[in-house]
């Protein structure tokens, strides 16, 4: 049973390295999906926004961790 629970823990860790980053990525993809579905942006702009948001999310996540580790 320990092995099975370890497998599930490993699977969780694979996609949730940082909870805020994971939620931000999911939120970002959902937001772009809504923009594209309502035709508020062109398909190309949607793709570029997705890439840009992902880079911003990465930067925020790295700087937040740096700040937290630097203070402790």
């Amino acid at each position: 049973m320990t092995i099975i629970s370890d497998v599930f823990k490993e699977l969780f860790k694979m996609f949730v390295a940082d909870l805020r980053q994971t939620l931000a990525i999911l939120g970002c993809v959902s937001f772009i999906a809504i923009l594209l579905q309502k035709a508020l942006v062109s398909p190309l702009a949607g793709g570029l926004l997705l890439a840009l948001f992902c880079l911003v999310i990465l930067a925020e996540s790295v700087m937040r961790e740096t700040r937290v580790r630097g203070q402790s």
Binding site: E10, P43, A51, C54, T66
Partner: protein, 250 residues
């Protein structure tokens, strides 16, 4: 050579090959600790059993994904690749910047060996425990390889090519490991993790976008631009994070 060789097939196989090296090196350290502490029989038995289960997952899950509509599959796989790839990239950036400590194979080997040596009981029970330790290490590290193979392979029907990349990494690491008989501490694990994180994040944005109906300019060629963007931002973040972390700890 197919036109998408350099833009899709080569990056996909390279990503699975490099990611597998990272994971197989970590698994090999534990298997080596088991082998040198409790003998090679439980180490090999545990490893083979875990590899069998991992192969079974790829054989069952890989073809099953072909029944999912392509747009839904690309979106699903793209999001998972984004979560996984950006997780790896984040960790690699933080390690390169000195914010997180580097993974140390020698230390992992010493810890596992000490744990195995501290266990007491009948010889047969100890062999079982050692075999399970090897099984667990290969299974858990291999899960990430399986995910990458399936995710990278299923988006463009490259399951076999991606599997070959992973298999080549296994053969290479196990061959070198069997030859030098020590933990493979010289492998630049974090650099590999950084590179794979960049590639998987680029694949993630590309496929999530395709799944959402994004019309990428240059089709597959945009993957190179996306990878370059993640690489440059990653390198920039290492510099900024290192400077800020050093300032805050003075």
């Amino acid at each position: 050579m197919p036109p998408e060789f350099w833009t899709v097939i080569f990056p996909a196989v390279t990503a699975t090959f490099l990611a597998s090296i990272v994971e197989v090196v970590e698994a090999f350290t534990i298997v080596l600790a088991v082998g040198t502490t409790r003998g090679w029989r439980p180490a090999i038995a545990g490893t083979v059993a875990a590899l069998g289960i991992l192969a079974l997952i790829v054989i069952i899950l890989g073809p099953a994904l072909q029944f999912i509509p392509i747009n839904a599959l690309q979106l699903f796989v793209g999001v998972l690749l984004l979560l996984f790839g950006m997780g790896w990239l984040r960790k690699a950036v933080l390690r390169s910047a000195g914010v997180l400590p580097m993974h140390d194979e020698i230390e992992a080997f010493a810890e596992e060996s000490a744990e195995l040596q501290s266990q007491t009981g009948a010889p047969k029970a100890l062999q079982w425990i050692a075999g399970i330790a090897a099984f667990k290490a290969v299974l858990l590290e291999g899960l990430e390889v399986v995910f990458i193979v399936i995710a990278v392979g299923s988006g463009k029907g490259l399951l076999w090519e991606a599997s070959l990349g992973a298999l080549a990494a296994c053969v290479l690491v196990l061959g070198v490991g069997a030859f030098i008989h020590k933990p493979l501490a010289q492998v630049p694990e974090n650099t590999l993790k950084f590179g794979v994180g960049v590639m998987l994040s680029a694949f993630g944005v590309f496929w999530a976008g395709e799944g959402l109906g994004v019309d990428w300019p240059g089709a597959d060629l945009i993957l190179i631009v996306l990878a370059a963007a993640f690489l440059l931002v990653g390198i920039g973040l290492v510099r900024i994070a290192r400077t800020r972390f050093e300032r805050s700890t003075i």
